[in-house]
């Protein structure tokens, strides 16, 4: 790319971010401070902090985020450590399955969880049949603590993000660092705490931050658990009367500021020191073989976590195939009716079409923007390119709900982007919303590709008469195709699973994407959950193939995509 083109790319991406990232956030924030007749007022914000219901919601959201992150870490850290250090049976199988928990359309998973852990669910039925429980007074596993349920669901859903970061970080630790500690008499847990943990802190922080923000702003799971007293759900409920009610705006503002404050706070506490590894690894690390007993223990641990993580999936699949399932261990009978009903419902086929359309267009936008941004950041010396890089990563740090809300506000009649009003046709704004949220994955993978591909390959082409832009297309892009495909696949998968934008911006039935269709189907009386599950199974199968493809292409580098 020549300098003028780089400038144009820079300007266009900057403009894109200004309009579709800064502006919606600004809209959301300003909505929180605008009086009915115009003019500034802090009254709504103050009211948020006075109203005990909103305060409780905020406190619950913080708890949800903290506990989810802690539980995620408790799951991911041992797993990552075992993977990094030891060889054990079926290790490759579990490594390949690691992303499976992520391909769960979030609230479909909750259906599965309820089916298994609910009062009339499979677990209670199992316990009763074993005589461990009185069937007349079943234990309410989920109702006992809605917060607990949401936290467990979040952790089982999100641990792969942290796991991938930790595995990558552990692989970067020079084994000699630990050997030096051992040589000086520091071993075991003490060595882990004093040497290993500080060295992997950047990876831990990077993954932990994403998990934290994800959990703090999660909408789908608490909605399914009917957990009303969290900020995200309160915002969602407040939507129904967006025209007049300023409180959703005020809540969103509070959520955004809290996210930033919590992020800054955690960065101060944990993310400060990034110890660059100075020396080259002197000894070859790598996992080592261990005795059969501990090896099988590792396998059992992995199997256990994976089983728990895919329990919702199993639940969903069983629900989707079951004639009826109430108070028994396994469904009473099997049927394909729900798949037929799901496909036959007039919501379904259009929603699949819509989702494919939105997600592929968004992926296309992401690829174009992502390659442009990654190119400017890695290959040019334009002033301000670091800013562009940071900007491209920011969507990871901003709650989906905040952006979704901003998009809604900025497309209201009378605004600059009224022509994109989702009430008329949500295509443009949804594609933009999806692509902004998923852009970081594509930028990261494209940048990694550019960094691994020598500039001289492109220069050689230019020297032989190939104009810069064509040199990029003919030489570098084919060489980084694998990175782009992997990034694109992830962007596509997560766009298909997107909740916040989908629920808020798709307002007419014919525009619903698949996630909102599942949500609507679930609310049908009678066999709603069966039909929703059937549709969820379809989505899971589809995304499973996509993510498996991405992990095969990217291998270990997959972890690098989930970094802030």
């Amino acid at each position: 790319m020549s300098r003028p083109i780089s400038h144009v790319v820079f300007a266009l991406t900057a403009l894109f971010f200004l309009f579709f990232f800064a502006l919606p956030i600004g809209e959301t924030l300003s909505g929180a401070f605008r009086q009915p007749g115009g003019g500034f007022t802090p009254a709504y914000l103050v009211e948020v902090f006075r109203n005990p219901i909103y305060l409780e919601g905020l406190w619950n959201s913080v708890q949800m985020a903290v506990f989810s992150t802690a539980l995620t870490l408790a799951i991911a850290l041992p797993l990552a450590f075992l993977t990094d250090r030891f060889l054990f049976p079926a290790k490759n199988l579990f490594s390949a399955l690691i992303l499976v928990p992520m391909i769960l359309p979030p609230f479909v998973g909750a259906i599965g969880v309820k089916q298994i852990l609910g009062q009339e669910g499979a677990l209670n039925a199992l316990l009763a049949s074993l005589g461990l429980e009185n069937p007349a007074h079943p234990i309410d596993w989920l109702g006992a603590s809605r917060l607990g349920g949401v936290v467990v669901m979040n952790a089982l859903h999100l641990y792969p993000i942290l796991y991938l970061n930790l595995v990558a970080a552990l692989a970067n630790v020079d084994p000699a660092m630990e050997e030096a500690a051992e040589n000086l008499g520091c071993t075991g847990l003490r060595k882990f705490r004093k040497i290993t943990l500080p060295l992997i802190m950047p990876g831990l922080f990077a993954g932990g931050t994403i998990v934290f923000i994800w959990a703090f702003t999660e909408l789908g799971v608490p909605l399914m658990f009917d957990y009303q007293r969290v900020t995200s759900v309160q915002i969602f409920s407040g939507l129904k009367d967006i025209g007049g009610n300023p409180f959703p705006f005020a809540l969103v503002a509070v959520m955004l500021v809290s996210t930033v404050v919590l992020y800054a706070l955690s960065k101060m506490l944990f993310g400060r020191a990034s110890h660059a590894m100075m020396a080259k690894a002197t000894s070859q690390g790598g996992p080592r073989a261990i005795a059969p007993l501990p090896a099988w223990a590792c396998t059992a641990f992995f199997a256990c976590v994976t089983f728990l993580a895919v329990l919702p999936h199993i639940g969903v699949v069983l629900v989707a195939f079951s004639r009826d399932w109430y108070g028994t261990i396994l469904p009473d009978g099997w049927t394909l009716d729900h798949f037929r009903a799901a496909l036959g419902h007039d919501l379904t086929l259009p929603s699949i079409q819509n989702s494919l359309k939105y997600a592929s267009l968004a992926t296309l936008v992401d690829l174009v923007l992502g390659v442009g941004i990654a190119y400017v950041v890695t290959r040019t010396r334009l002033p301000g390119r670091e800013l562009l890089d940071a900007m491209a990563m920011l969507p990871l740090a901003v709650p989906g709900l905040v952006l979704a809300f901003g998009y809604l506000a900025m497309t209201q009649p009378g605004k600059l982007f009224a022509f994109m009003n989702p009430a008329i046709d949500p295509l443009m704004i949804l594609v933009i919303a999806y692509s902004v949220r998923r852009l970081p994955y594509v930028v990261r993978s494209a940048a990694a590709g550019f960094q691994q591909t020598s500039v001289t390959l492109e220069e050689a082409a230019q020297n032989l008469g190939c104009p810069p832009f064509r040199a990029l297309r003919k030489i570098t892009l084919p060489l980084i195709a694998a990175n782009l495909m992997a990034g694109g696949l992830l962007a596509f998968s997560f766009a298909m699973l997107e909740v916040s934008d989908s629920l808020i911006l798709a307002q007419k039935q014919q525009d619903f994407p698949i996630t909102k269709a599942i949500y609507e189907l679930y609310q049908l009386l009678g066999d709603g959950r069966f039909i929703a599950s059937a549709l969820g199974v379809w989505a899971m199968g589809f995304l499973g193939v996509t993510i498996l493809g991405a992990s095969v292409i990217l291998g270990r580098k997959l972890g690098a995509i989930f970094r802030v």
Binding site: A460, A461, Q462, N463, G465
Partner: protein, 356 residues
């Protein structure tokens, strides 16, 4: 065949001045070397000529064309990169044919020209191979063929032999010179290997700190270095400090702690005055060791450490004032007793007098 002129080229990276007013002219068909220690600006200069850097000021002319701001793909130069920059996703033939495809040459002609280019570097049997299946030397030949097949106005070589082993390097040196002369190419060759420069260049420029220290043919640069930097960088030498006794145009007599020496003043811009400080540069192979005191240009001393290398021997010749490095061809160490005083002497023609 074109000439290449560089006029007053200045290139800065932030505060670092990489090129500080470089001027020279390369004649059509000449093999011109850019030589210097790492960080001297030689690769920066080459990249300016290729178009990958735009200079802050100054001009670059290909013949009469001002190409200073022309983008690289319009300059029609063939460049060989230090890393070869062969594309791993294309075959050998596709790599070589790339520039021709860009020039929209008919397919049939491309096939023919690629075949003959591969033939000329003895790589024809490997046309269908992938780059990863080639050895270092083979990759280097493909890179050369790729740069030549487009019939460039000029061939630019950026340390093309630095990744090869010594034997292959020797072979490829001769190959590159043969090909350049055969195609009648104006070539610019960047290296830090002085042997490479001395053996195949027509002329060379020695760069130091972003400036040209000296331009000349291999013999001129080696035998008549005009500064201490050049004398030190090209080949080995003995520096002896002294004071000018008397001088004529082009020559002078210098008094040193080792004795009085007659020599050549190589820098045409310097007419030394009696009493001025000067440095003598005498190459190790220019010394002869005598048993009887020569009439002039002699230093008395004893042989210290000696290293026998077969065709030559390397002596450390200890005088009361300094220790000299001396090379003797076809040595017979038995004739060189270490316990008696000997004399080292050099022809006035081999003694170069430099500004201190």
């Amino acid at each position: 065949m074109i000439s290449i002129s560089v006029e007053n080229l200045v290139k800065k990276f932030d505060e670092n001045v990489a090129l500080n007013g470089v001027t020279f002219r390369i004649e059509p068909g000449e093999i011109f070397f850019l030589l210097g220690p790492s960080g001297c600006g030689k690769t920066t200069l080459l990249r300016n000529i290729a178009g990958f850097y735009i200079p802050d000021s100054g001009r670059i002319l290909f013949g009469e064309d001002d190409v200073t701001r022309l983008p690289p793909h319009k300059r029609n130069t063939g460049m060989m990169f230090q890393s070869y920059a062969l594309w791993p996703h294309l075959t050998v033939a596709q790599n070589v044919g790339f520039g021709l495809v860009e020039r929209k040459i008919p397919r049939a002609e491309i096939t023919g020209r690629v075949a003959s280019a591969l033939e000329s570097v003895k790589m024809a049997p490997y046309a269908a191979r992938r780059i990863a299946q080639l050895s270092g030397g083979q990759q280097q030949r493909v890179a050369l063929a790729r740069a030549l097949v487009i019939r460039p106005r000029a061939l630019l070589l950026d340390e093309p032999l630095s990744n090869l082993d010594a034997k292959l390097r020797l072979e490829m040196r001769i190959e590159i010179r043969r090909v350049c002369k055969e195609y009648g190419l104006t070539a610019i060759y960047v290296t830090h290997d002085q042997k490479e420069a001395l053996s195949i260049s027509d002329r060379m420029a020695i760069l130091d700190g972003g400036r040209i220290a000296q331009i000349g043919g291999p013999q001129a640069v080696y035998r008549r270095p005009q500064s201490k930097t050049v004398a030190d960088f090209i080949g080995e030498t003995n520096f002896i400090e002294g004071k000018i006794l008397e001088s004529q145009p082009g020559s002078a007599r210098v008094e040193t702690p080792l004795g009085v020496f007659d020599g050549i003043v190589s820098d045409p811009g310097w007419q030394p005055k009696p009493g001025e400080s000067a440095t003598l540069s005498v190459r190790p192979e220019c010394w002869r060791i005598e048993t009887a005191r020569p009439t002039r240009n002699a230093a008395a001393g004893r042989i210290g450490e000696s290293i026998y290398l077969g065709e030559v021997a390397q002596y450390q010749f200890d005088t009361p004032a300094a220790s000299l490095k001396i090379l003797e061809l076809n040595p017979d160490l038995a004739r060189r007793p270490q316990d008696r005083e000997l004399y080292a002497t050099a022809d006035p023609d081999d003694v170069v007098i430099l500004r201190k």
